[in-house]
């Protein structure tokens, strides 16, 4: 296929190679910089993630356990609520939707992804949290209040930041990514599989269950990992609704931290090498966790041999 080398060819190839290598370079730089940037606190070893002591501007020992707890719990809530909804949307778009509804509905889901994080936060503070506090949380308190996770709410209290709020906002924010990747996975299932199920007398939902959902398992799993990574790394929207109390409690109604919200709320005030280093190390933990979940997800997707549209959002 080649048409012979020329100097222009060589230069161009070198050019694109160099520019593309920026991606590899960036990956390495991320890890390098965040590791060296946390040199002051790396010495703490694993105590960094197991301890709750936070030195703040005066101390010199920092533990991010409450933040990790917050990240884990908010992400878990996000997945618990967001994944079923996303799967429902994916199944709708892939298997159930009449042709003319498909474009508008998928556009709406794309718009969910386009809303900036800070606008989610603003809406969260002024609209979502008051709504949930007045209309939804009382039910949890009334019917499930015996569970420790649902304690700590008093009827009629003023809306305040809480872990549950953080989880709900995250659930909404992960819908686009989880539903779009799942939908790709569902659409990649060959029609012959669906036919096999129908020919056995399956109803629509049965056919979807046995022929499509199980075939698309790894793609759906990939979408869940991507959603997890997104939820774990989301910063501003969560920071605005989750509060900033570095306290470990079991109640979902109390405020908390996530790794990301910790970093963003304290970074501007951080002084002193150790304080900054602690925040950078928190970032390193975040980087490692999200990087890992994304690698697993992309590996699973790599096994799906479908090519995606050029304009797929992310």
């Amino acid at each position: 296929m080649g048409a012979g080398r020329s100097r222009a060819d060589t230069i161009f190839k070198a050019l694109v190679l160099v520019f593309a290598s920026s991606i590899v370079a960036l990956t390495l730089i991320f890890f390098y910089e965040l590791t060296t940037g946390s040199s002051h606190t790396l010495g703490e070893g694993f105590a960094f993630i197991t301890s709750s002591t936070w030195g703040g501007s005066i101390g010199n020992f920092y533990g991010v356990l409450p933040a990790i707890y917050g990240s884990v719990v908010t992400s878990a809530i996000a997945l618990l609520i967001g994944v079923p909804v996303s799967l429902g949307v994916a199944v709708f778009l892939s298997e159930l939707s009449p042709g003319r509804l498909r474009a508008p509905v998928s556009f709406i889901v794309e718009l969910l992804a386009a809303v900036p994080s800070v606008v989610y936060g603003l809406w969260g503070i002024f609209i979502m949290v008051p709504f949930l506090t007045h209309n939804i949380y009382p039910f949890f308190q009334a019917h499930l209040g015996f569970l420790p996770i649902f304690q700590g709410y008093s009827t009629g209290q003023l809306p305040m930041a809480s872990i549950l709020d953080g989880g709900v906002v995250l659930a909404i924010m992960i819908i686009p990514i989880v539903s779009s990747i799942s939908r790709d996975a569902l659409q990649a299932v060959p029609d012959s599989q669906r036919e096999a199920a129908y020919a056995l007398g399956a109803t629509r939902s049965e056919a979807i269950r046995i022929s499509v959902l199980s075939y698309a398992r790894s793609g759906i799993l990939a979408s869940i990992f991507l959603g997890l990574g997104r939820a774990f790394g989301e910063t501003i929207a969560v920071a605005m609704v989750v509060g900033d109390t570095p306290r470990l409690t079991s109640s979902l109604f109390s405020p908390g931290y996530t790794l990301a919200s910790l970093i963003v709320t304290q970074f501007t005030e951080a002084t002193g090498a150790a304080y900054i280093s602690a925040l950078v190390e928190a970032g390193l933990v975040l980087l490692i966790v999200v990087f890992f979940t994304n690698i697993v997800a992309r590996y699973l997707i790599g096994r799906l041999t479908k090519s995606r549209e050029a304009a797929s959002y992310l």
């Binding site: 080649g2 730089i29 991320f30 794309e110 819908i175 939902s205 910063t235 605005m240 050029a310």
Partner: protein, 278 residues
């Protein structure tokens, strides 16, 4: 037994349709409230005046924030787009080897990188050495967010161009580098779509800016000073508790949403009915 299966079928299908409704409700709510609370704040002052002092009733605008956002996004695009498009060209046209696949894989993974981590990188690389918030750090952070997105969308757009075009070009004796440019021009709309969407995305970024360029109550004052941005102001004013500030935050949110959704709509309309390449 049989009618139970029939019933379950109806229930499950209704649940799927219900989830679509559940997904739409927050979007509708956001668009509604942003418009209802933000539109009133949009007037000439909003575009031309500086932010008001933190005193109830003080008036002002967010002109500097609008200016700052435009400067930041514009400069970030100047770096992010060339790097992204050329990387995409590499991945698609020259990268059919292990290194190319690695670049592609890392690009996909980097897309999901938390933006706060990008902010930290901008801080350690450019803020700390220069002892203070500065423009370069902010632009750097935003471009770092753009590059993986543009690379992958470009690579995918180029992938969709049929091989017959490359072969025809080669058979005419055209050099590979010109063939690649030909492929790019055939994928114009796909590449442009990716570029526009990436730009819309960084327009809405806030966390990295908090760590790299800070916030300013003045107009653009040079590359070594903090710079105002719409997103930071939404965060700063939105969480302040002052009514006049909160109103301006809604206004900024409205403006931002209009710009971003406008870009998304334009992209959708431009590519509707066309194939994904050319």
């Amino acid at each position: 037994m049989k009618s139970r299966r029939f019933f379950m079928d109806k229930v499950l299908i209704s649940l799927a349709c219900l989830s679509v409704v559940i997904a739409i409700v927050p979007l509708a709510s956001i668009l509604y409230y942003v418009t209802v609370r933000g539109l009133p704040a949009i007037n000439l002052d909003f575009f031309t005046k500086l932010p008001p002092i933190p005193v109830p009733g003080a008036v002002g605008g967010l002109g500097n924030a609008i200016q700052g956002t435009l400067i930041l996004v514009g400069l970030a695009a100047c770096i992010g787009l060339p790097f992204g498009v050329l990387s995409g060209v590499y991945i698609s046209e020259y990268g059919r080897n292990f290194y190319g696949r690695t670049v592609r894989f890392l690009g996909d993974v980097l897309i999901g990188n938390p933006s706060i981590v990008v902010g930290i990188l901008g801080f350690t690389l450019l803020v700390q050495p220069l002892h203070g918030d500065n423009l370069a750090a902010g632009v750097f952070a935003l471009s770092v967010i753009m590059i993986p997105i543009v690379s992958i969308t470009t690579a995918e757009a180029l992938n969709l161009v049929p091989n017959s075009i490359r072969e025809a070009s080669a058979a005419l004796g055209i050099r590979k580098w010109r063939t690649s440019l030909l492929v790019v021009s055939n994928a114009k709309s796909g590449v442009a779509t990716g570029a526009l969407l990436a730009t819309a995305r960084v327009m809405g970024e806030s966390a990295p800016l908090i760590l790299t360029i800070g916030i300013s109550t003045q107009w653009y004052s040079g590359p070594t000073a903090p710079l105002a941005s719409l997103t930071y102001y939404i965060y700063y004013f939105g969480t302040s508790g002052l009514q006049n500030w909160v109103d301006l935050a809604w206004g900024a949110a409205f403006l931002l949403i209009v710009m971003i959704i406008g870009i998304n709509l334009a992209v959708r309309l431009l590519t509707r009915g066309r194939r994904a390449y050319a």
